[in-house]
């Protein structure tokens, strides 16, 4: 199967403190992939590296068959979009100015862009904020706007860091619909989350990241097999070796 993303021996440290340790990961094309891990596992750092915001100490990254090097950076980024947590928006721009600016930078400002924006804004119920500065938006609307901007760039690989945080239930459902549609069209979606339910229903393959290392890679087949006997939550706890609690531990309560 073709790979949208191949990471080999990726290492990243902050002030000699390792965050990612010789990480290996491969994500198949045209799938929804979920990366789960507890707080501080290195998920956001990995997303930061993959979206070009952070450099790395060692290793190699191949995105859509292109080796991540300075000379390939522009070519790679043309097909990659992301929504980070918290989302990155241009605070002085209105919602409309923001999405058109992003499309301008990606070169996806086609003639029907306005129609696409209208329909997306309407779908996510943010039409009333079209001409409102992004700094005035609520955290849920900000997330939805960043999502719309990312979708409008027509990415082949979409990175989503905690995509459903602070978004209402209805919008979460609609975001999932859009993601499934993108997958049908051949795009790859890379989601990180610490909420297992989010990835459990949506993702095809799942990897567990802990202390900068991939502890397990569960493709759809192996997931089916494992989930016969235990829930994803139990599998996760088993892998990250959660410290067992004693019933009398908080006796004073």
């Amino acid at each position: 199967m073709e790979r949208a993303l191949i990471i080999k021996k990726l290492t990243k440290s902050y002030d000699k403190e390792p965050v990612l340790v010789e990480l290996d990961l491969e994500v198949p094309k045209g799938t929804i992939f979920g990366l789960i891990g507890p707080n501080g596992a290195g998920k956001s750092t990995l997303i930061g590296i993959l979206t070009g915001l952070l450099d790395y100490s060692e290793g190699s990254i191949v995105i859509n068959d292109l080796q991540y090097t300075p000379s390939n950076e522009t070519e790679i980024k043309k097909d990659v979009a992301s929504v980070l947590q918290p989302p990155l928006l241009f605070e002085n721009f209105t919602s409309y100015e923001f999405v058109t600016y992003v499309c301008e930078m990606y070169g996806t400002n086609s003639r029907d862009l306005n129609d696409k924006i209208k329909s997306l804004f309407s779908y996510f119920e943010i039409t009333e904020f079209t001409h409102v500065k992004t700094k005035q938006l609520s955290s849920g609307s900000r997330k939805k706007l960043a999502f719309c901007a990312a979708i409008l760039t027509q990415p082949k690989l979409l990175f989503l860091d905690e995509p459903f945080e602070s978004v209402d239930v209805i919008s979460i459902g609609r975001m999932k619909n859009v993601l499934r549609k993108l997958k049908e069209n051949g795009s790859t979606i890379f989601i990180t989350s610490h909420i297992l339910e989010v990835v459990e229903n949506l993702c095809d393959d799942i990897a567990i990241l802990h202390k900068g290392k991939i502890l397990a890679y569960l493709d759809s087949e192996s997931r089916k097999e494992l989930e016969k006997n235990s829930s994803l939550n139990e599998i996760f706890e088993e892998y990250v070796e959660v410290r067992p609690t004693h019933p009398d531990e908080l006796n004073w309560l």
Binding site: T74, L88, E104, H131, V132, Q136
Partner: protein, 516 residues
Amino acid sequence: MISKLLYLNWKLFLARLTNLQTVLIIGYSLFLVGMFINLMGSALLVIFLDSSSSLQLDLPWLTPEIHNLILLTFATIFWIMHFSFTSTRLLNMEENRKLLALGYPAGKLSWHLNLMCLYHPVNVIYNLTWLVFLSLQINSAWNIPIVVGAVLLNYGVIYSIKHRFLYMVEKRFKVIIFSFIFVIFGVISVLAILSRRTQSVLNDLAIEFTQLVGAMELLPGGLMFRSAKYSHEPLLTAVLFFFMVLLTYLVFRDHYYKTMEGLMRPSTIKIRKDVSRLWVFLQKWLGDNAGKYYYYVMTHPYNKLQIFAVALIPLVYIPLLLIVDLGDISIILIATMLAAIPVALLGMGMANMFGYEHREMLLHMQFPGSIEKQLKERFLGIITVPLFIFYAITVFEVIKLPQLGDVFSIYIANTFFFLCFMIVFLWSSFYQYQKASYSTFSFKHPIIPQKVTFTMSSAIFVLGYTVFVPLGDLHIYRLWIMTGLIVAIGFYIWKNFDLLAKAFKAKILIKLWSNF
């Protein structure tokens, strides 16, 4: 409970102070002491003025009327400063609101926060200055309660106005106040220049002084001043004091309810729709990166104020210098001020290069296209607009102010002036990016602080004197030296054009990410 609250708020205040602000607070306290001594001296001067003929001989212009005018001017300006620089957000409401969730009753917190405001170091300084200043003016012991009442009422009224008209104060009023201060300084400068030239002019202006004093006495600062000066009658004092107490009570009651409202309904910001043609224009003129940068800079309220100040100084002083022809000094000052306008804009641009976007810059990293290219486009934009202004000013000088020199001299001198500061700003920014610090020309603090403004102003005038002072026959040699240096600096800047972009990418982005 209140002592803990006091501790919390002082700690919050001190935690937010930079080293410079700490020095400024200490400096201001010393200034207060100095002012106290000066005012004592002034008081003694006025007291002995009638009897001491030697003083009258030494300072013949310092009549009681002029002394009164000086004190009134001080009171007026000080009130304006008090009004403009006392922010209603001196207290960190977000932090204090958390106390509501920790069992602090809202009513009590509201009342205590009002007390906290009064105890806030900035307010303590302003109110103490009023007390010292007014105490020195009092005629009798009957004035004391009125002075104390006036200081309290004044503090309360300022806060009320600011609460009620917060939007106006933030968006527009500071501009009005700044212009007012500049006009006052302009008027004082005119008076100073005229009084130096001839004593008779001063005498002619005596009538205008009386009218000015009459008007200033009706301004808030003047009213404060009068509270210490009115005739001392017990009945009048009692009536005035009663009304002051009543008004102070009403004002503080209003504060109580407004604070309570602020605590219980903190986010009542109305969502506003914005349709800006400015962005479209700038995007077309300067491109996506530089256009966006200028859009941010031009819509930022601090920059509006800075641009206003940059434009206002020459607008006030150049006509003055043209009217009061001081010969070579006028030529040097006019040429320097005009040359300084694009330099100031360039300084503001470099200081704000990344300041308003912070983590938004990370989004630029994700766009297709190298970040260095995007940053270089931005840097080019920062140079383009001041250059545009630079050429406009040079053309204006050549056409309208021929006394400044011939076309070549003006052009070379202005170019040299501009490039010298461009290289200074380049180095400063590079140095600050290495430290990734909060200070000037850093990525986080886009406002040029006073110490840099002062240093730059001094540097501008020193360089202005060097470049524009008439040298007679030696002028041609200076032109050649400047031309040589222009070529050298231009070459250096051209070779190091991507210096800032590289430094920013290497140091600042990591910082932005870790603050993410």
